[in-house]
């Protein structure tokens, strides 16, 4: 499968800290499917900038509080 993507995220951690929000609920809030949220949490998919911002807004934090850069 190759190297993991350089973008890391704390989506699962933030979701659980927000009253154990379900993946489906987060997906509905940002306009993606539950399976896409699963893929994001498992670092199998890096969301678009728009979706990244939407996720950050759901948790009321900044983009860099949700996503990090682990590349060169």
């Amino acid at each position: 499968m190759g190297k993991p993507p350089p973008i890391t995220n704390r989506v699962r951690e933030l979701r659980e800290a927000h009253g154990q929000m379900s993946q489906a609920a987060l997906g509905e809030a940002v306009g993606v499917s539950r399976h896409t949220i699963i893929a994001i949490e498992q670092a199998r998919y890096s969301p678009s900038l728009e979706t990244g911002f939407r996720i950050a807004r759901v948790f009321n934090v900044g983009l860099e509080d949700v996503f990090g850069w682990d590349g060169d």
């Binding site: 499968m1 993991p4 306009g31 993606v32 399976h35 896409t36 893929a39 969301p47 979706t51």
Partner: protein
């Protein structure tokens, strides 16, 4: 398993089943394509529609939700892969026709490429939905 993945599995299996049966008829048993083509097309359409309806009844909410950004990317990448399979088959078919002047051979190669290309597309969708896009 997501609705999209289940849908891709259904389409891949439909194509393998009916496409394989069609190819067995025309290549294996020598049935003229004009006789086998209509049942092939009708069979593919009916089976795929029936299966998609069943999937939609099982997961109505997922079935009615629009394709999201990740699924759209998966579909695009899978279509890209399948285009190589189809193009290769068409080129091979054209080469075979130039050598043998056999139009039926060209027809069979192109149709087989179409079946393989579509099967590749659905197989690629399944793989990409499960792995990293």
């Amino acid at each position: 398993m997501s609705f999209r993945e289940r849908s891709a599995w259904v389409m891949a299996c439909t194509l393998v089943l009916i496409g394989g049966f069609y190819l067995k008829l025309v290549i294996g048993d020598g049935v003229p394509p004009s006789y086998a083509a209509v049942p092939f097309v009708l069979g593919t359409i009916v089976l795929s529609i029936a299966a998609q309806v069943v999937l939609a009844v099982i997961s109505p909410r997922e079935a009615s939700s629009p394709v999201d950004e990740r699924e759209r990317l998966v579909i695009q990448k899978a279509a890209h892969f399948s285009s190589y399979v189809l193009a290769t088959g068409v080129v091979v078919g054209l080469g075979a026709f130039m050598i043998s002047q056999d139009g039926m051979k060209l027809f069979h190669i192109v149709l087989t490429s179409l079946i393989l290309g579509q099967t590749t597309e659905y197989g690629a969708q399944i793989f990409l939905l499960r792995s990293r896009v």
